[in-house]
Symmetry: C2
Subunit: 348 residues, 2 copies
């Protein structure tokens, strides 16, 4: 089967690899209906992560049809169309029950915490999905071609953005700032809107992304950054700052922006994979801010997201502005690296 | 009137100072029934804070009788016995309404954010209290001598510990760790117990404080620190860590201890005044921990705390293990600095 491999930073190829098989009785194997390239795939692409990259099978977002299940899988069967998260979850352990399927104790203990650990990457024609019962959600019907990109977005970027908006306590009457205009930030706008936020302020200098943010529900766009950006946000929030801020980049600059825009006693939800950033506890103390972030517990939100997609109430698939067959994945990486594409959908 | 002055780090004297007067129509002046020395007073005492200390009027905890009020004060009058917080709050601005009277916009704008800014310190016979309506709570009756220390503790250490326990999401079925066995940590034990926590684990190597923690509701004591302490906490929490941790010290070591003891998706409430400590956002991301801290919004909790004290259900005044007349305040600082006293009550 065809599989996207990152041989080394900056070098992506597409090769034939062996079909994944069931390793555990709780596994499923799916045939991908589509896959996509994530902003977080750019960190290794740019050589900007501590771990070396060596012929890594890429991809962790996925939707598709179940073709085989282990003996202990009860909730999905061959022929079902499913959406899952990049975080594997048993659904039964203490952290899953606490609402953090993103840190499932059983999956982590099994070496299967994330897609791409023991399982293969999902920028491929087929993939092994561990703990299928706790990880996969069956869709109410086989999706139309139009629904495919929306479900694809739900698998990660929408789910991650939604979690960040939830952690930022988006809700009726609230002013929410989104730092980061990538697909996750745009997903956060959808989340904030659905959760009822009154003002949604997208920080973006990219006209195309600004436009999409507005379509998704952003009420304001701030182009300035740093102190000027903070001043603009204060102007829009009665001088006191936003109730909540989504941080969807992961850099020190983005964290500082988030801290500058939030009001005292406010909330920051952060989902950008952190790179060399830290926060002085004196700043947190002074702002008295609530901080929560991590790999998004997307599984928790999937039933809601799938329902909204099938009802036609959200169209998160609009974040995909480049569609390529899997064999052209290297072009997709290049386009996202150069920011000529926001998010790339790969077809099989 | 007598007032405790820190002339320079390590040098405390008691001097006569002018009586405080009403500066604003929203002020009250109170006659202190008692005062006390706070763990945070030790930072300047030890020369361990960035701002220089120069003849500072000390003290920010207070209870007493109202002797004079400004024209716009409506909820308290001369003769009332009151408890207040070190954070001044109008009760009406956006952050007060959001439940963060500790960051009151009006008080901060007036230069009156904390006791000891425009107002005098409360290790004194009398004190000016700004924004009396939003800051002071009248007690249901004039307190007995026995109730005085309990109300005194409510003014800061109990209220601060309670806030930290609340931020750590103490509640039924939860395992809560308290890092810091000072008066605030001990107050957090009372808070965690009242909020319904199932396991309360106090980290302490001091037999007297361990004993008091147990009286207050601690179910376990861990003497070890660092990796060994974390291992003990994991043993007591099914190998997954505490649901919530109270950090009541402020050092890097204490933050690291808190992060090591909390489970994935758990909560840290921090109230130790931070000193040269920071947290890598990668650690927060990996643990997916909720972090909240700052100057405690004690005012929010005071009605509950006063009620519990008058019902005799909590005895937070037990944290005072040394009582001195105000003229002997220097001895009190020395005893707390040397850790021969947990908390010193000053009588007038």
């Amino acid at each position: 089967m065809r599989s996207v491999i990152m041989e080394e930073p900056g070098k992506v190829v597409v090769e034939d690899r062996p079909m994944p098989t069931l390793l555990e009785s709780t596994d499923a194997v799916i045939k991908l209906a589509a896959s996509c390239i994530c902003g977080s795939d750019l960190w290794p692409y740019r050589g900007a992560q501590p771990e070396p990259v060596d012929h890594q099978q890429m991809g962790h977002e996925y939707i598709g049809e179940v073709i085989e299940v282990g003996d202990d899988v009860k909730t999905v069967k061959p022929g079902d169309f499913v959406v899952g998260s990049f975080c594997i979850s048993c659904g039964e352990c203490a952290t899953c029950r606490d609402g953090y399927p993103s840190r499932c104790l059983k999956a982590i203990a099994a070496g299967d915490g994330f897609i791409g650990m023991r399982s293969n990457g999902t920028q491929a024609e087929y993939a092994r999905i561990p703990f299928a019962d706790g990880t996969l959600i069956k869709t109410p019907a086989y999706p139309t071609a139009e629904q495919i990109p929306h479900l694809m977005a739900a698998s990660d970027v929408l789910g991650t953005g939604w979690y960040a908006a939830d952690a930022a306590k988006a809700g009726p009457g609230k002013a929410i700032v989104v730092v980061g205009d990538g697909a996750v930030g745009l997903g956060a706008v959808i989340g904030a809107k659905q959760l009822g936020a009154e003002k949604i302020i997208m920080m973006s200098r990219n006209p195309k992304r600004q436009e999409l943010a507005k379509q998704f529900g952003a009420t304001h766009v701030v182009e300035e950054r740093g102190e000027e950006g903070i001043a603009k946000v204060l102007e829009l929030t009665d001088g006191v700052g936003a109730h909540g801020v989504v941080e969807a980049v992961g850099t020190q600059q983005a964290f500082d922006q988030a801290l500058g825009c939030v009001r005292h006693g406010g909330y920051i939800g952060f989902v950008g994979v952190p790179h060399d950033s830290s926060i002085g506890t004196d700043v947190l103390f002074d702002k008295q801010v609530h901080l929560e972030g991590g790999p998004a517990p997307v599984r928790k939100y999937l039933p809601t997201l799938i329902d909204l997609i099938y009802k036609g109430e959200i169209e998160p698939g609009k974040v995909f502005d480049l569609v390529l067959p899997i064999d052209e994945a290297p072009k997709g990486y290049e386009a996202m690296d150069q920011r000529t594409a926001t998010k790339v959908l790969l077809t099989m």
